[in-house]
Each structure stands twice: as C-alpha cells, then as structure tokens.
Amino acid sequence: MFFILISIAAGAIVVIARILNTRLYEKIGLIESSFFNYFTGLLSSLILLAIFKDTITLGAFGHIPFWAYLGGILGVSVVISSSIVTPKMSTFYITLIIFIGQLFTGILIDCVALKTIPSAKIIGGLLVVAGLAYNLYVDSSAKDTV
C-alpha cells in the first residue's frame, strides 16, 4: 500500500512541476529554466543524502551497467520537450498522450525483463486508454458546443 500511495504522489508532483517549469521557461527561456531545475534538484538531492547518509562502497560503481547512469540525460530531454508541448495543448490532453507512450513502453520493458507477456497489464492498459479516450471525446464535443 505504501508503494501504491507514493507512486500516485509521484504522478501528482509531475503535473505541478511541469506547470511551474513551463511558467519559468516562458519568463527566462528553455535552457535557462532547465538549468535552475537541475540546480535546485541537485541541491535538494545533496541535502537528502546529507540527512539520510547512504553508505557506498567504491566497488558498487563497477557492478552497474553503463546505461543506468544515463537517466539524467533522458530527464533533461523530457524536461525540454515537455516545455515545448505544454503551452500548445491542454493539461488533460498532454497527460493522455504521454500516458499511452509511457504505459506501453513500460509494459514492453516488463515483458523484456520478466521474459513473459503480462496479459493483465496489457488488458488493464487498454482499458485505461479507452477511459482516457472517452474523456477526451467528452472534452472535444464540449468545445464544439461552446
């Protein structure tokens, strides 16, 4: 239950951070806002590390595949491309399309990692897309009548 709640909270923070970042980007520029994004992020991480003090052995670095270190680069590309998309589309619509890409890539990664095809995840995922598509349809027909 703990992991379910923090996963939902993680999603809520994504939306708030995306709005704040876009606002800053409109004021000072894309790369500049990303600079402050990662500057404050790095600072917060260092504070968290100082508080919780992970113990680390130097040998641990060698046991991790090289690609695992590249998450930060992917994060920058997400921040930059999100800032491009956010002013052009409604929050709900962006959430829908990013959802589809995220979910099915995630299911694909699980397929590869577990070497099985998780049918419950695919069926559940398709239901989620159906629900979102319905809400999107409600949105677009509401706009037509205004």
Binding site: I13, A17, E32, Y38, I73, G75, F92, F99, G106, D110
Partner: protein
C-alpha cells in the same frame, strides 16, 4: 507533430524509470538521486556551453517558480522506491492516475494561473474505466 512528441516523451520517461531504478538498486536511494541530478545538470551545462547561453538571475520573479526541480526530486525518489518493489509498468500506471487527478483538479480550479476548464461530470465514467484498468494491472 506535438502528439508524436508527447508520445515520445512518454516512452523516454518509461525508459528513464528503468535506468534510474537500476542505478538506485546498485548505489542506494539517495546516492543515486545525486548521481541522476548531477548527470542531468552536466547535460544542461554542456547544452549551455554549446549554445553559448549565460545564466543571469532575474529579480522580480516569484521564488516558487524555481521550485520545480526541488519537488521533482521526490518524484524520482518515489519512483526508485517503487521500482524495486513493483517493477516498471505498475508504478507508471499508478503515477499516471496521480497525474490525471491532479491535471483535472488544476483544469477545474485554475490553480497556478492555469486557464479554468470546468469539470464535466461525464468524465467520471472515463475516470472509473481508468481506475478499473489500473486495478487489473496492479492486482491481477
């Protein structure tokens, strides 16, 4: 064009979750948090050098606008926690439920100066289907 870019953003996020999760498993939650942000910060510095951008701190902007990075740290941390326990796609599904509810609340109330888009009760049907779908993914 923006649709394709949005789809790509989603795919990159999923791949990033697996990368960060593996790093967190190997290096510990907080140490990996520093590495992830250090790599990101370095990437930005390289981009700035390449595009010859200089940073100047503009006065008059509300400080909360600079907080996106500070709160995003908790998204990364929570995702890394969940990755070790639940894998990739379940935290994604649950995280997206959090995103949908938050997005709808922001649209409805116009938080943080977003244009108000009133909540249409018909959307409860879609939201219910979404929650059923996520439940099947998570509990079956």
């Amino acid at each position: 064009m923006y649709n394709v870019l949005s789809l790509l953003i989603g795919a990159i996020i999923a791949i990033m979750l697996a990368f960060n999760g593996e790093l967190s498993k190997g290096l510990g939650n907080y140490f990996s948090l520093v590495i992830i942000h250090l790599v990101g910060f370095t990437t930005i510095l390289v981009l700035m050098f390449y595009k010859k951008i200089k940073i100047s701190f503009k006065n008059g902007l509300p400080l909360y606008l600079y907080s996106a990075g500070a709160i995003s740290v908790f998204t990364v941390m929570f995702n890394n926690f969940s990755y070790a326990a639940l894998g990739v796609s379940i935290p994604i599904a649950l995280g997206l439920l959090g995103q949908i509810i938050t997005s709808l609340a922001f649209d409805h109330y116009g938080f943080l100066g977003m244009p108000k888009i009133h909540f249409n009760k018909k959307k409860l049907i879609g939201l219910l289907i979404i929650i059923i779908g996520i439940s099947i993914m998570t509990f079956l």
